[in-house]
């Protein structure tokens, strides 16, 4: 098969974002990542919720689902449960994933399914005209708000860590190549990954702008060339966790980017399922035969011996 180019993943749909929206960077990075991984279009599903960012499925030539506000994660999980071979990527907004969808965000961590979460973190609700998202800091007053934000921000990295995600990173929407590399790593990671992508929204977030971010962001590995997010044993965990966790809490004048945490020792869900349901990987729900020439394969009296009574 020929190597693919990022533009092979472009569609003819008009990209409806505002000029200079950070989503453009994310879209490009995603297309580049897919191209470099050379993934066939129909074998990839991008699953989104509702929001500006959630329009991304229409702009990528893969087999995509535009779901409900807050529900991309369970839909993605369903696809993956039914067909573990499909590459499934969730791309959605901060309101979608951490507000209305926070319950699913947490639950996914318990499963460690191989699903990368691309969190379009613009700190606002774009599509509904600029309300505070769960990542908007306390007391910030963007221009669309009638009063300063009275709710504090939550920390997506720590939330993912507390929930059991095994690959946790932060990126910046306009650093397309770095983001592309992270997306590739996340797609390949055999477990649940989060990339918290700082995404300027020039239309509604007039505080956390391109300039605002670019004054603050730095890469973990630049600051500390020995930075090592990889945890491969419980001892490793004890040794590295305090530093990783306190890096995750860093936010303010300096905002670190890069991979914070990778844990390869947690088994992904599909191999767990295989252990309690032998044959699952060979015949996952989407692929197993359910009939032969329309004939059902099992009569209850064949299998449900525990309900039989000989009279």
């Amino acid at each position: 098969m020929m190597a693919r180019n990022w533009s092979d993943y472009k569609t003819s749909s008009w990209v409806q974002w505002c000029p200079a929206c950070g989503n453009f960077g994310i879209l490009l990075a995603l297309q580049k990542a897919l191209a470099e991984l050379n993934l066939p279009s129909e074998k990839v599903s991008i699953v989104s919720g509702i929001g500006c960012s959630s329009r991304i499925p229409y702009y990528v030539k893969t087999s995509n689902i535009h779901t409900l506000h807050g529900r991309p994660i369970p839909v993605a999980e369903g696809i993956k449960l039914a067909n573990p071979e499909q590459t499934v990527i969730v791309a959605s907004g901060d309101g979608d994933l951490l507000g209305i969808g926070a319950g699913h965000f947490v639950a996914l961590g318990r499963r460690n399914m191989q699903i990368p979460i691309l969190l379009h973190d613009n700190a606002v609700y774009g599509l509904t005209k600029g309300q505070a998202a769960p990542t908007l800091p306390l007391w910030v007053k963007t221009k669309a708000l009638d009063s300063p934000n009275i709710q504090s921000q939550i920390n997506p990295l720590l939330l993912a860590f507390a929930s059991g995600y095994t690959f946790i990173a932060r990126a910046y929407a306009y650093h397309v190549d770095q983001l592309k590399d992270l997306i590739k790593a996340a797609i390949n990671h055999k477990g649940t990954s989060l990339i918290d992508i700082l995404q300027p929204c020039p239309t509604y977030n007039d505080i956390m702008t391109k300039e605002w971010y670019e004054k603050r962001i730095y890469y973990l590995t630049t600051e500390d060339s020995s930075w090592d997010p990889m945890i491969s044993s419980p001892e490793d965990f004890d040794a590295k966790a305090p530093k990783i966790l306190s890096k995750m809490t860093e936010w303010g004048d300096k905002i670190p980017l890069g991979v914070f945490y990778i844990n390869m020792s947690t088994e992904p869900l599909d191999t767990r399922i295989e252990k309690i349901l032998p044959g699952y990987l060979q015949y996952p729900p989407a692929k197993r035969p359910i009939e032969i020439k329309s004939k059902p394969l099992v009569h209850p009296f064949t299998e449900f011996k525990d309900r039989i009574v000989q009279t």
Binding site: P74, G103, L277, P278, G279, F304, V309, T311
Partner: protein, 645 residues
């Protein structure tokens, strides 16, 4: 008790005290004896201590309901005596532990104040002190055989015979009590032994101690009260039969129907369906199939989600990937699924939602009966969300409907809501191999896209029958959307495309209404030409059919129109039946008479006579019989029936 065998026995005691197993053993005992059995459990939403009871009905032909008064009451505790003393037939018996005779009702902590108050004042009127022994005396005076078991002693005897201590056989008290009951009903101890062997299949030491306990109890009854006149074998001897709850049988239907993924969030009374399916997740194929496929066993994945929103959205994801998927829930979960139902309608996703109705509104009573989710189901999901909604009336129907629902979901690419209820969920029925023949429902996966075609795939192509050829994710480039979309699944706000797409969905369901045969939508029972038509849905069917037999014996000829497809509604057929009746009586377990509303909406016909039950308890043969008679003879408009404790 030969030709017209009709036995009703009840066993009551504290939740967690083995009521369920006792019922199961009773059911099996009578089955082994060759009878058809129906048993139902009534219990609190509680893990331990609250009052629970099991009612078993035995006949030569399949009973479909229970009735009061019972022919025998087994009281494992004093609360049972107080709660059910007025539900025992004259000439029947009550079995109780002699140690509880001194219990004063006021001292029974789990008994609810409302219940104590009501029973207390009843007893007062009868001049009975609220003490167990006084109630027993009253019953005895009324001709009821009162059988006190010295359970402590019997346990001791059992332990001695087994050469063990009392504690290790303590759990056999239930077996003793039911043995006493079946002894009085004329059943030999061997049959109960067999039943013990079935129920505790494989657990040798438990079987041994229960068998010993049964023998001890049997002998005690024989010696002290005399056993009943031996009962003949029923018509179903020497067969391989099954006994299952509604929860079980729906799991069986789903498995046979090719389900490969069930997502769920636990909720009573649905979770036992998912559990049972989960226990059989790695199942054996029929021999012929195993041979053809070259594998012995295949799997169904049963997955616990974080909530019902997750459960249905996961099921939707699974369906898009190509799996046959279902989810199972009850009222509160259904409420939470509304948004995703609307999504599945819009995105045309085949998914089955099994709804085990219980007593609402809101959390209501998790373990009690209600048929209250009919209109909510038909109109579930905002924004014009037509879909298929079916309702099963009994176990066998629920089995086949589970299979059909999976077919219709895929054939019409739509969510299908399958309504069942607590009555079916926690009742047991005996049946034969032929009763659940999966080959009667060939698997139909609907239209598939020919993947070798070379054009761009239109997921939502508008076709003659409004169904677009499907394709699982992973095989073709496609888009799926909860927004208004064009034939490719790409969002559009073009007004004309929107109009087309809304009509596509609506007409697809209308079309399903035309294509699905009437026999899948309604059943007409009883005297086909009767001028009195009873109309109902769901599990109310069973007790009505039983009551109709009683009416028939009195020369009252009736027919029953059971509506099984709620959407799209079989309007013409229903209108014809109702318009050709002189008297129409609606029976259902909800406050609004929802079926009557739905009928009027679809046919204009106003059902003026209504019987409803709101207590959260099963509808029983005797009360529905009485209510029907009262409507027929006294022309009453509304009868609210309330029997059962």
């Amino acid at each position: 008790m030969t030709d017209e065998v009709d036995i009703s026995v009840m066993i009551g005691g504290p939740q967690g005290g083995g009521i369920e197993s006792s019922g199961q053993m009773l059911v099996r005992t009578f089955m082994i004896k060759g009878y058809d059995v129906f048993g139902i459990r009534e219990y609190h939403s509680n893990i331990m201590g609250a009052h629970s009871y099991y009612n078993v009905r035995v006949k030569k032909t399949r009973p479909r309901s229970v009735r009061l008064p019972v022919d025998g009451l087994i009281a494992l505790d004093a609360e049972t005596i107080f709660t059910h003393y007025n539900e025992i037939a004259p000439n029947s018996f009550i079995i109780y532990d002699v140690d509880i005779l001194n219990t004063n009702m006021e001292k029974i902590a789990p008994m609810e104040p409302e219940v104590k108050e009501r029973i207390g004042s009843e007893l007062k009127k009868l001049g009975i002190e609220p003490i167990a022994s006084e109630v027993i005396k009253y019953l005895s005076n009324n001709g009821i055989k009162t059988v006190g078991l010295p359970l402590k002693n019997l346990l001791k005897t059992t332990a001695e015979k087994l050469k063990t201590n009392v504690v290790s056989v303590a759990k056999t008290v239930n077996t003793m009590s039911i043995t006493a009951a079946v002894a009085l009903l004329g059943i030999d101890v061997e049959t109960i032994e067999k039943s013990i062997n079935y129920y505790f299949y494989g657990k040798k030491s438990i079987i041994d101690s229960n068998v010993m306990a049964a023998k001890v109890a049997y002998d005690f009854v024989k010696d002290n009260f005399g056993i009943g006149k031996p009962i003949d074998d029923g018509p179903n001897k020497n067969r391989t039969r099954m006994v299952a709850t509604g929860n079980d049988i729906v799991a069986m239907g789903k498995l046979a129907g090719g389900l490969t993924l069930e997502t769920y969030y636990p909720i009573t009374p649905s979770q036992d369906e998912a559990f049972y399916l989960g226990e059989h997740r790695h199942f054996k194929l029929d021999e012929w199939a195993a041979k053809e496929l070259g594998v012995d066993k295949l799997g169904v994945l049963v997955f616990q989600a974080e909530d019902e929103l997750g459960a249905l959205n996961m099921a939707i994801g699974g369906a898009l990937a190509g799996a046959r998927t279902a989810t199972t829930t009850s009222g509160p979960g259904l409420s939470l699924m509304n948004e995703a139902i609307s999504f599945a309608v819009m995105a045309e996703v085949p998914v089955v939602i099994t709804v085990w109705m219980r007593a609402g509104p809101s959390t209501g009573e998790a373990t009690r009966q209600g048929q209250q989710d009919l209109l909510h189901s038909v109109f579930a999901g905002h924004g014009d969300a037509p879909k298929i909604v079916i309702a099963s009336g009994d176990h066998i129907e629920a089995y086949y409907d589970a299979m059909k629902a999976l077919n219709w979901a895929e054939k019409y690419q739509t969510p299908v809501i399958h309504l069942v209820d607590k009555y079916i969920a926690s009742s047991m029925m005996s049946f034969d191999r032929e009763d659940v023949d999966p080959q009667l429902i060939p698997i139909d996966r609907g239209k598939y896209y020919n993947e070798n075609q070379n054009e761009d795939y239109k997921r939502y192509e508008i076709t003659d029958d409004y169904v677009s050829p499907r394709m699982p994710l992973g095989k073709k480039l496609m888009w799926v959307s909860s927004l208004t979309h064009n034939e490719y699944g790409i969002v559009t706000e073009d007004p004309i495309t929107r109009e087309k797409m809304l009509l596509k969905i609506a007409k697809k369901i209308e079309n399903a209404g035309r294509e699905i045969p009437i026999n899948d939508k309604v059943s007409l029972y009883g005297d086909q030409d009767a001028k009195i038509t009873i109309v109902t849905w769901g599990s109310a069917k069973g007790p009505i059919l039983d009551a109709m037999e009683l009416l028939k014996k009195e020369g009252i000829s009736t027919r029953l129109l059971q509506i099984r497809m709620m959407s799209p509604f079989p309007s013409e057929y229903v209108a014809n039946i109702l318009n050709s009746s002189e008297l129409v009586i609606d029976v259902e377990a909800n406050v609004l008479s929802q079926l009557a509303m739905l009928i009027r909406m679809n046919t204009g016909y106003e059902v003026k006579k209504k019987i409803i039950k709101l207590t959260g308890r099963s509808i029983m043969e005797h009360e529905i019989y009485r209510a029907l008679k009262s409507v027929i003879q006294n022309n009453q408009d509304l009868v609210v029936i309330s029997d059962g404790a």
